[in-house]
Amino acid sequence: MIQETVGSAKAPGAARGGRLPKINPVFFVLAALLVAITLSNPNFVEPTGYMNFLKRAAPLAILAAGQIYVIVSGGFDLSVGSVITLTVVGSSVLLNNNADATWWVIPVMYAVGLAVGVVNGLVVSYLRVPSLIATLGMMITLNGAAFMWSSGSPRGYLPETFRFFGRTNIQGIPLIQFLPVALLVLIVVGLCLFWLMHRTNLGRLLHAIGDNPRAAQMSGVPLERVRIIAFVISSLSAVTAGILLGGFAGVSTDVGVGYELQAITACVIGGAQLLGGRGSVPASIAGALTLTAIFTLLNFIGLPKPVRDVVQGVILIVAVVLATYRRNRAGGT
C-alpha cells in the first residue's frame, strides 16, 4: 500500500521527465533471449533470421504499443483480438477477391476500428462499466459479428495488394539485403505512438488519470475524452495488427484469438503497471519482442511441446517478476 502511494506520487514526475531513470530490465531480458537464439541457431544473425523475426513480431508489437495507452489510463482492452479477427474476415468479405478494392477497404476497416474504440470508451466513461467487462462484451460481440459476416468460414482470399503490408519484403537494400514492409509499419507506428505518449500533453493526461482519476478530474483533466482517445488508439493499433497478420498468413477465422492477452502480457513484461499510471511505449514494444523471442527460441531448441509449455511459462513469470522488482525499487527510492 505504502509502496503504491509512493509509486503513484512518483509516476507523473517520471512521465514529465520523459525518460525513465534507469534502463528498463526488459531490454536486458530481450538481449539475453536474442543471444540465446543466436547460440542455438547461428543463422539468426543473417538478415533472413532477424528480419523474419521482426516481421513476425511486428503485429504484436504494434498491438502492445496501442494497448499500453489503455493500461496507462487504468483500464484493459480485451477487444483487440476480436478487432484483428474482424479486420481480416471483414477485409476478405469486402475485397471479394478484387485486388483493386484494397485502397478503400483499408480505410473502411480503420473506420470500423475507430467506431469500436469510441464505443468502448463511451461505455467505460459514461456508463461506468469497468473496462474489463466492457471490452469483454465487445470481444464477444465482435467475434459473433465476424462469424455472422463470414458464416463461420472465410468467403474470399486476401489479394496481394492487401497482403503487401504483412508479407512483402523490399529487396536489394545494402547491408540488410531486404526490409519487410511490416517492419517499416512497426517503426512508423511505434514512433508516432512513442511521440504521442511521451512527448505530448495527452501522454501526461493519460498517466494522470491512470494514476489517480479523482485527482486528475479535480485538476481539470477531461477524464472521459482522454479515456475515449486511449481506447481509440488501442482499436486502431488492432486494425493495423490485423492488416499485418492477414498479410503475413492469409485469411482465417480465428486469427486474433489470444492476442489480447499476449498484448497485455507484453505490456507487463515491459514494466507497465496493471492498475494504470505507469507504462512506456518502447518498453511495451520490447515486451512484445521478448514474447516473440521466447516462442522463437523454443522453436529453435526443438523441445517437445509439453516441455516447451513449461519453459515458456517459467520464462514469462521470471520476466514479469523482473519487471515488478524494478518497479518496486524505482517506487521506493
Binding site: 503475413f248 482465417s252 517459467v314
Partner: protein
Amino acid sequence: MKKLLTAALSAALFASTAQAQQLNFDDPAEFARQREMLTAKANGPEGEPWVQYYGDQMADTAQYKKEGPYTICFSNAGVNNAWRVTGWTNMQAEVKLHPEIKELIHVDAEGSDDKQISDIDDLINGGKCSVLIVSPNTTAALTPAVEKACAKLPVIVFDRGVNTKCPVTFIHPVGGYGFGIQAGEFVAATAPAGAHVLMLRIVPGVDVLETRASAAKRIFKEKGLNVIGEEFTEGDNAKTKSIVEDYLQRGSIDAIWMDAGATAVAALEAFEDSGLPLPIITGEDQQDFLMKWKAEGFKAIAPTYPTYQWRTPIIAAVKVLKGEAVPGPEWVMPQPSITAETLDQYVNDKMPPLHHAMCGCEKLPDYPAAWGGQ
C-alpha cells in the same frame, strides 16, 4: 535447479506418453484393416460415395417403421470450423431432397460436452423427434446421453463415435489411420530415402488426429524417412508459417506432412517467402490449397475426411423411418484422396478458400450460393 527442471519435464513427458499408450492411438490391427479398406470396393452406386458402404452387414429397422411426415432432430457438436460449416450446409441441402421430412430441428452444442448432453435431453423430452441424429463432441462424455436417447427413439451417430452399440448405425468414413496412410504413402513414394519430413499437426490428444499421425509415422519408419520434427500449429496460419520458417533456417525440409490441410497454404508460403522451391506436401481438400496446387504444380496429395458424410445421416434417417434396412451397426463409407490426376475435378475458383471440395454437393439444391460460392 537444472536437475529439478529436467526431472519435472521428463515426468510431464512420461505422463503424456503413458496417456497416449493407454488410449492406444497406434493399433497395428486397425491400421492394417483400414489400409485394406482403402483399396477395397464399396457397395452401392458408383459416383455417389455418400450412399456407398463397405461390408454387407445390415441393421434391421422394421421396428422403427412409421408414417410420415417426419421430424428429424440433430444434435450437432458445433459449427466451429470450416469443415463443419461445409458439412452442415450439405445436410441442410440434403433435407430439401426429401419431401417426407417436415422439419429438421438443429441444436448446436457450440463445442461443449455439457451443452450437448442437455441438448439431447431437451430433444428427447420435447417429444417432437421421429429420429435423433448425433454428431458427438467427444466420445466418452456423450455415450450415456446417447444410450438414454436410444431407449426412446432410433438414433443415428456420425463423424465421431460413441462407446455403445445402441444406435441403429454409426456413419463414418474409413478413418484416421486411412487418412494418415494415404498421406504417408504418398510422401514415402515421392521422397527419396532419408528425406527430411516435417510433421505439422493441429493439437495433440484428439483420437482422429492421433491415428492419422501414428499411421504416417509407421510408414515413414518403414521407408526410412527422417522425421525432423512434429509440431503443433493449433490450426493457426501465422503460427504454421513461423514454425516452417524456423525449420527452414535450421536446415532443409523435403516434405511436409499435415494431419489437416487448413494451414497448408501458409506452410507453402514460408518456402516462397524464403525463396526456396516448394516441398512435397500433403494437404486436404480445401479450395485454397487445391488452387495453389493447380497454379504451382508442386508434388502433393490431398487425402480427405469427406464432408459428404453429412448427407448420409439424413438419407439413413428416412430409410430407418420407412423400415428399410441400412448398413449397420457401422456404415463405413469411402474416403478418397485427391491426386494430381483428379485435381481438375475438384479445383474451383468460384468457391471460397476453405470450402471442402469433397462435399458431394455439386448437384444439391442451392449450390453453389449456399456454400458461399459465386
